[in-house]
Symmetry: D2
Subunit: 348 residues, 4 copies
Amino acid sequence: MTTQKIRIAILGASGYTGAELIRLLLTHPYAEITALTANAHAGQEMAAVFPHLRGADLPKLITIEELQTDALDLVFCCLPHATTQKVIAGLPDYLKIIDLSADFRLRDVAEYKRWYGEVHQAPILQGQAVYGLTEHYRELIPESRLIANPGCYPTCSLLPLIPFAKAGILDVSQVIIDAKSGVSGAGRSIKQNLLFNEVSEGMQPYGVNNHRHIGEITQELTAFADEVANITFVPHLIPQRRGMIATIYVRLQQGININTARQILEKAYKDESFVHVLPEGEVPSTHSVRASNYCHMNLFAGSSSDDIILISAIDNLMKGASGQAVQNMNLLYGWEETLGLAGGAIFP
Amino acid sequence: MTTQKIRIAILGASGYTGAELIRLLLTHPYAEITALTANAHAGQEMAAVFPHLRGADLPKLITIEELQTDALDLVFCCLPHATTQKVIAGLPDYLKIIDLSADFRLRDVAEYKRWYGEVHQAPILQGQAVYGLTEHYRELIPESRLIANPGCYPTCSLLPLIPFAKAGILDVSQVIIDAKSGVSGAGRSIKQNLLFNEVSEGMQPYGVNNHRHIGEITQELTAFADEVANITFVPHLIPQRRGMIATIYVRLQQGININTARQILEKAYKDESFVHVLPEGEVPSTHSVRASNYCHMNLFAGSSSDDIILISAIDNLMKGASGQAVQNMNLLYGWEETLGLAGGAIFP
Amino acid sequence: MTTQKIRIAILGASGYTGAELIRLLLTHPYAEITALTANAHAGQEMAAVFPHLRGADLPKLITIEELQTDALDLVFCCLPHATTQKVIAGLPDYLKIIDLSADFRLRDVAEYKRWYGEVHQAPILQGQAVYGLTEHYRELIPESRLIANPGCYPTCSLLPLIPFAKAGILDVSQVIIDAKSGVSGAGRSIKQNLLFNEVSEGMQPYGVNNHRHIGEITQELTAFADEVANITFVPHLIPQRRGMIATIYVRLQQGININTARQILEKAYKDESFVHVLPEGEVPSTHSVRASNYCHMNLFAGSSSDDIILISAIDNLMKGASGQAVQNMNLLYGWEETLGLAGGAIFP
Amino acid sequence: MTTQKIRIAILGASGYTGAELIRLLLTHPYAEITALTANAHAGQEMAAVFPHLRGADLPKLITIEELQTDALDLVFCCLPHATTQKVIAGLPDYLKIIDLSADFRLRDVAEYKRWYGEVHQAPILQGQAVYGLTEHYRELIPESRLIANPGCYPTCSLLPLIPFAKAGILDVSQVIIDAKSGVSGAGRSIKQNLLFNEVSEGMQPYGVNNHRHIGEITQELTAFADEVANITFVPHLIPQRRGMIATIYVRLQQGININTARQILEKAYKDESFVHVLPEGEVPSTHSVRASNYCHMNLFAGSSSDDIILISAIDNLMKGASGQAVQNMNLLYGWEETLGLAGGAIFP
């Protein structure tokens, strides 16, 4: 266990996940933010890009070319996919990397091409990456140099599903995930459909059954169930900043009743700091996890005897991105998983 | 066709559906608002209860006991269920009634007891009621004295489903409806869970697979399919005022492809003023129907060849309540269905 | 009074004020929308730009160069300032014009240069324009060919101030206007500071005492008071779509008490359809005017005996832009001022 | 300096300020939450009242009668005014008290009666209380047993005003404060005007120039200026959860220009952890202080040479309530003022 401070760079620090990492790392006892890159803002103070960080002691933004890698231990990479591959391939071997992009999540490069439309440029590096869904890859993460931090929808969907897949009682041939996300999931992109007037007081499905995260969910569910999963996935844009709900409709193996199912879920997460199975009947809400690293989940009876409804809630920027990234960093260095993540949810 | 003004009372005018009826009727050429009841506010001006109605020429609020029924032609009833039965049973026979409560929607009184917990007090009247889903009960409505205006979730769910049920190609044994509603669907009840701080910036499922509207949806889908329907229904409370989305996951009869399905849907609604099947690929949004009587819908391929995803959007206070009630009034009197409903959607 | 339909073009129809004009004109008995221009969207259906207008019978969008002016009676101009001058200067003399930009509002071209940074290109046309604050320019508007429709902040501020200026009892040497606006006032510009995540759950002053509307407010207050007005003006961006409040702190001539002041205000607007002085003690709210052409106002005692606080509320897209433009059109053609504006406010 | 943990009770823990105190104290190294009272919820877990606190190790809620005061060092009192006096009067002398109600803020009991309508029941205790505006009462707080934590509006207004009052250059005869607050300032009261549908998408002034906080602001400004202050104060309810802006219009002594004024403000707060004077031209925003204990402020030129506009932003639940209370606790015990408050602002 390292207890002296590790030196950290955040690449792509001018986006929401970068800012959220900074917020968390500023309260982490063993983290030292050494460098922040953001090519479009190089030379600026972080407070000029994110005024809520005024008052924090932070290095100025630099270009990625200016990064001095020999003064670093760990890199969080918050760059867009495709760009990410090239940047990470160019980093020296002694650096540990937690990548928040999609570039190293799909183990099959053909799947990468299918969902992201381009040939993967770093397939060998891809082979070394570990999928950073902390609770289910806890053994592999500490040994890895490159952690592919999961997407927000996959985190929210897989956490309730994997225990059933592992137990071999999930009918993976028809898994329906109806997901709802706040707007911060789309990042700080300046697009018409993300304007206040286009978002507030409205809601809309998007990427209906062709969202890129289907690849990631399918890969993991197939792996844990050891059977090809068939996912139906419809995300919806909801007029709130943070927060995500996945409402999941599944069929269990014949004869598995809801009480057994509840026991499986509760057992899977009983020792977890961040994943809570709620008491029977209590419905997860994004209010209860806002700005925290928690995942709240529960299960409910469906309309046929083998059907169940799984509901889970996370903060997409936290357990769905930067929070889980810090949790993975803690695991990587042998620290308490909750370091820097003790803040709890913010309400109201 | 009557073209002289009909005299209208709104019972329970101090709720959101009452206020919305007033807004619509004020621009209707053949409607005259003669009486407004609201027992808790009797004696007050409407503008004291709803300041946005200041400037409108409206009668003062009275108690239901003060209502002079001989000066009326039509009653809109916006009272809570259970209360409604008794009030309507007491109205003279010559009055036409459009009831926005749930009291006359379920034809089977056992189903009423199951979902609403009480024995129905007016079963004979129940037998006379017509379910007011305008597009699918257009022949029966003009002949009826009592129209049971559908619930918001049933309207939003049934409009896309019924054409397939009618065509006999829908597998009604597994219909999954994931619905999302703005907060006005809950009315003006003063409850903690409806406070701004408890709603904004959050979302939450509720009534998971045991919401009362399941009875209504099941009844109608069963009737149109001529086969017992099995509905899974999860509504979600979304931080917006008006607007509802139903995302529906269904299986069609083997061999029915999505193009055929599209043709069925388009044919069903091609002559309708208020129901629009969107062009292929265009996703319904509540923004496009806000404050209007429109229903926008579309269909998308599921993950298996026979699966399709139906998406529909309405304004819950309009096509989901008061707008459809006015549409039914127009039908009842032989007027153009669009009278008083020409306003169009409000954006931004 | 013309009662046959007039043929109307909207120039710059792809913005919010254009869309709002369309919404209003579609229900106007004497308006026929003949042409819609939007150079960046030429060739598209309006429903492709504003899906909420699907179902309306509208001409396709064309470029301004394609406009056939001989088939027109009236033009609403919703173009940006500076561009507007050139376009209007090129229109034939027989066309009437209601301009929603700032280009013809300032009678002094030096003031135009001061606030808009450029030399006015059409000063003669400027001399012909009438300031379209309907209630106070009602005599001049019908005789004019070019109406400069007021800005939203000036409308909201001037309506409560002018009666006191006219009465000669307002100390115009210190008028403090603290204004708050919903986001639609900024139009559909695709800018970072208008993103949902940058606006919702936050508020911020902007243009502190140097907003361009100061020129317009100063001009009119000076004109009505016949004395140079000194305006302090701080607008704030508020996380809501529509709606504007002006809270105005003024001093009256010594000895004028608040009862006299109330009489002056009530008398000024007692016959107005759209301007309502609320009962004593009732506070204006944007809820009560949303999507309507109303202005609600009231006055309250300040902390010194001669000080009063004026509060007014409008919908910035309606009385603050398109609604007032339609009101001016009605006046121009001798129609009832309320035609096309009868919809009333939308709540909830 | 005490570094062993102090034992803390929160009285009235079921409100927003109580929940916020818990959130902060859970991360404080020297705080131990020993008791939580909430008479209406006695016997319940905190997570039943505030689900976002699930996972935290907290005592069950008890009645105030069940409180064992001998096991305590410090009490945070979050009870309503009037009730507070009686409860605090009954606490043993060895307990330190930080009171978040209004009961001990007004030093003059006549003023208390004027604004709160009741005779003060604990005038002697009142005389012992220190007004807990940390930055300006830093010397008195550590010696006090009873700290009257300031109101949110007074904190936001007084922080920018006091340096000028102290310098003797503020014309206190006309101070105009136009304040805007998010809804959490109203607490968790279940009232119609706080429902989501009554708040979202609207704004409204309230308590126009008769809000109770005027007493508190006047008292402090008068004290620091040594001259009777005359405050005009209009608060507005804004559709957001947290966050407050005060826009303040004042006149300085003749000849004091804005540069001098800026120097006075910057000097007053240059060593403060939580109060930041922004760089020239930068406008405070509630986004930048959300969920943090920061106050951001700036000053701008008015329309006359001696007029300036002061703008300040805080999170009403933090620097405006619970955050400042924790800051005062730190001061009381001689700890770093930032302990438990290091979290920084949350964005987006």
